[in-house]
Symmetry: C2
Subunit: 338 residues, 2 copies
């Protein structure tokens, strides 16, 4: 049985990441991380007729690729845990409806990769599933028109805004096999510091990341130096500075270990992306394309992966609400026994 | 460790439903089940300024009541698993943000009570949590204006349409204690029979309920007569007939055991609700107000609870897509040892 120490859940059997895949679009492929992705699709429609169908196609292809890499059929999966940013999570449900695999829909905004992977891992660790997949995606054009403006409106972007990545990640987690291993995790709390600028998601999410990372370090009695990397999802440049500041005020310095997927994804100067990348697919694609391979090759041994989400909707902003954030965390280690 | 038999998950420790509560609004209180709810609120705004805030208030009050009944503080909970119908699940996140409790957001449309309770139960059974809550809600006025028309438009309702219940349910599930027990469950698959009428959710969801119930009976080698009741979420009158028909075609007759929360909630003639009730809160409030008390009082010993959801959005309908359904199932027994 998994062990629980206050905020922290330690897995008993350290479920294995048996396979993973990531697909992105052209802009992500042109960024500094472009070489790490499994596929860079030039057509932003992914061969479909609408942006929403494009996102579903990308997500379906990503899971398919993760299964193919390990020569597995969809029927190998006891469950898929998936979600996305789009209203009623239809990018995921329409992507996966033809697979005939049990499905748990989750909503964690841009924290979805961490939420789905942690949920899948804990259910595998507890014996409910032998094999499960965690999947998510985001698409610049579906997110822009739903959360901000139709693309054709040509709205001006504020300096604190982030660029929603067109990207998807899929992870197959199993009770047995070879690969990086889920050592434990921490379910995020909803944290709201009263940020009301819906174009400054980094600032809204940073307090949630600080809360989760601080609780995990405290309850495991570890320090940042115990991890090779402490990875956050999509705080971007502004949110990342704030995270370091918030943790510093609590006596924790993660600056030498911190990597933020949103800050890594684009070249902010040449790609005009302002405060960085964002979206469920941002952290998902870099987890699968960059961080998991580093663990698999033994170049690093242990990371914390804390994706972050902003739990707003256009309607809550219109009603004058502030923006609550959340951050779920996984500790992922290499394929070794402690 | 939980045992898995094909589609079915059997819990190892049979987590206990330690407390539960339900709150509804006036129309639900005036229906045939009106006497079973913990609270019937006359003010559809629940004292708030917007419909969305009203739904959040109702959901927060429902969880609070479930905790109070068992004299528990929110800090007793290791996690809350919650979701709702509203874009980006903000009814739940804004309801629960002040509690400071780890939060897993789920999206299963009207199947959310089953999805959240099954997820919470399996995570308790596997040792990730000692105590968790499963919570959901729906509100007629938030759902109408988001999925259909603004109320003030006065749109005509079709005969197959259902009435979204203003209702909420909350369940506290624990590794220890006294109460009804979660014996097992089945994660739903996404099932799409090509229904394109967004005003006929019962027909869209019935095939998913049939799929889940059939798989559960088959894989547990049980028959409908092994259960006192087989409860579905919100198929309504039309979807219920279709469910019986679909199962009958597979050689399974549940007609003597079947109860549908959507068909039970209103008096279709005097309350003008057409095909019945719907919404996450429909199955949630009747589970907490009616079915769990029957189990606790020993009047029945064993039920299947299969809530159903339609995984559409207004945008997928506009893009000509059909309506996929899903149904998650729990087997809930009394407080006895087999």
């Amino acid at each position: 049985m998994a062990e629980r120490i206050r905020s922290v859940i330690r897995t008993q059997h350290a479920p294995v990441i048996r396979s993973h895949a990531c697909i992105v679009s052209r802009k992500e492929g042109e960024g500094p991380m472009g070489a790490c992705f499994d596929r860079v699709e030039e057509d932003p429609y992914f061969g479909e007729k609408t942006w929403e169908q494009a996102e579903s196609r990308m997500q379906a292809d990503t899971l398919q690729l993760a299964l193919e890499k390990a020569q597995l059929a969809p029927s190998f999966l006891d469950c898929i845990v998936a979600g996305d940013l789009i209203n009623q999570c239809t990018s995921s449900t329409f992507a996966l409806r033809s697979l005939n695999v049990p499905f748990l829909g989750v909503y964690g905004a841009c924290s979805t990769m961490a939420e789905s992977l942690l949920t899948a891992s804990l259910l595998v660790d507890g014996g409910a599933f032998r094999n499960a997949a965690a999947v998510t995606s985001s698409h610049f054009s579906t997110a822009e028109r739903q959360f901000r403006f139709p693309l054709s409106y040509g709205g001006q972007r504020t300096p604190t805004s982030q660029w929603t990545c067109t990207a998807s990640g899929a992870v197959v987690v199993s009770a047995e096999g070879e690969g990086a291993r889920i050592r434990g995790g921490c379910i995020g709390r909803i944290v709201d510091y009263g940020i009301t600028d819906a174009n400054d998601m980094g600032s809204a999410m940073a307090p949630a990341a600080a809360d989760t990372i601080f609780r995990y370090l405290q309850d495991t009695r570890t320090v940042p130096e115990d991890y090779d990397m402490i990875v956050t999802g999509d705080l971007g440049n502004i949110g990342s500075s704030l995270l370091l500041e918030l943790l510093h005020a609590q006596g924790v310095d993660i600056s030498a270990r911190h990597h933020d997927c949103g800050a890594m994804m684009f070249n902010e100067h040449s790609q005009d992306t302002h405060a960085g990348g964002s979206g469920c697919g941002c952290a998902a694609s870099l987890l699968c394309g960059h961080f998991l391979p580093l663990l698999e090759r033994g170049e690093i041994r242990r990371i914390l992966f804390a994706a972050t989400g902003a739990l707003l909707s256009p309607m809550t902003t219109q009603q004058g609400e502030s923006v609550p954030g959340i951050s779920h965390l996984l500790e992922i280690g290499g394929n070794y026994v402690d």
